[in-house]
Assembly symmetry: C2
Homo-oligomer: 237 residues x 2
DNA sequence: ACAATAGTGTCTATTAGACAATATGTA
DNA sequence: TACATATTGTCTAATAGACACTATTGT
């Protein structure tokens, strides 16, 4: 017994309508700990509640474009390479304002400059908080945003060893130790520096390439590390 | 400069509305080849075009429930374990009927019984076709369904070695050779039987467990293989 | 000199892969 | 018996992990 839906009149106007939002889980690694950017909402229905940045998709843009636009508008962060869709949410009642389906995106960015991200607009505040506070329930969020963040972190843990996503957390140049610290923050345990380096450099298509510069050892001293940058798509051939 | 969207009146009625559909990529392995189930549409706007089964999400059901319901309604297949959401699509103009966002699901099922899947209802036909025909463009589909199928196959290739998804393609009992043939169909190359078996059985949390039965060697003979079944969640502890 | 961090060498254990050998069925 | 398929054994290569050691800086 095979039927296609809808029967007869197939015009979409005959079917329930939803608002579609894109929400962005903006992750960074600060002091060895994963952080997520939250905003305090100033709108009437959710005043004072903390939530993920995001907003409504427009009919004339793609989902990816909507995510990039919202990210730029709300956090002043230009869309980085790793802005990836990871799951959609549509449970009934998840948004008290009505039928809302949310497409969630994940962005890995370098530590945020608080001066550029805080204050202004309709959000009373914006703040990066440790994801652990959210995951452990110490920080309550609006909607199902705590679950979305949990799913995003699971996704990063799943991808960290198989994709260059760790580089999203770093600036244009970085040391191998920088990359390792990102991995350590994600997996939650220390990694052997020697073995990590070997594995990273032994892949067939290198994702990083050395520059001719060294970084500046801090006041603590130590041998200066070579600075790397992302390998161009060309050099990865 | 931080603003939250929307400004002021935050009621969702002020924002564009979309129809939300769930489409299901129903994959099976027939004669060593990946197949996908397509239906021929009988509705006014797309009469005669082949497309993925799917339909509109209702406000009072989750996305997963909508996918299970549509799968059951349109293909008579009860939702198997591996009905997983893998991507959402919202490009402007992707559906000529208007603003439609589609959440795509992937289902791995045993080879379909044609008597149960064909004919009836508003679909003039239903048919399992080799995914290769779709991927290589030999079979034209409605909407962006060819791209969705390509993404689904990429997802399976990515997951086949890391999840029990292969078991979705098999019935309640199966031999290790059955599992290997599924893997071979997905990765597109033959796998060493001895090494495949060892790897499969040496995982710490076994995903299969032997029964006390053997399967019946075909008319070609050969040593009968032990039949396995899925390991219960309990025995995986 | 001493502490701190980067980077190399080396040894062992584990895993992956090729492929031979054995077990058990049908025709 | 000849053939087909399942299952086990064995050897080698590649990889992963622990950890000692060398290199280069700041104080």
């Amino acid at each position: 017994m095979l039927r296609i839906t809808p029967r007869g009149n197939n015009d979409t106007r005959a079917f329930p309508r939803f608002a579609v939002t894109v929400d962005i889980v903006l992750l960074s690694v600060v002091a060895g700990t994963l952080h997520v950017l939250l905003i305090e909402r100033a709108d009437r229905t959710h005043r004072g509640m903390w939530a993920l940045p995001g907003g409504f998709k427009k009919p004339d843009e793609t989902l990816d474009e909507a995510a990039s636009r919202e990210l730029l508008e709300e956090t002043n962060v230009a869309a980085p390479g790793h802005l990836t869709q990871f799951h959609s949410y549509g449970d009934p009642g998840r948004d008290p304002r009505g039928n809302v389906v949310t497409v969630a995106y994940l962005a890995a960015v370098p530590p945020l400059d608080n001066r550029r991200v805080a204050g202004g607009g309709d959000a009373s505040r914006a703040d990066g908080v440790p994801v652990d506070d959210v995951v452990r329930g110490r920080r309550k969020l609006a909607f199902d945003h705590a679950r979305i963040i949990r799913d995003a972190v699971d996704h990063v843990v799943d991808q960290i060893d198989r994709t260059p996503i760790a580089l999203g957390f770093l600036g244009p140049t970085f040391t191998i130790t920088d990359i390792r610290r990102v991995h350590e923050a994600v997996v939650g345990e220390p990694l052997d520096a020697a073995n990590f380096r070997r594995r990273l450099l032994s892949v067939d298509r290198p994702i990083i390439q050395p520059t001719d510069r060294l970084n500046n050892p801090g006041t603590d001293g130590g041998r200066p590390a070579t600075l790397y940058r992302r390998a161009s798509a060309r050099s990865r051939r």
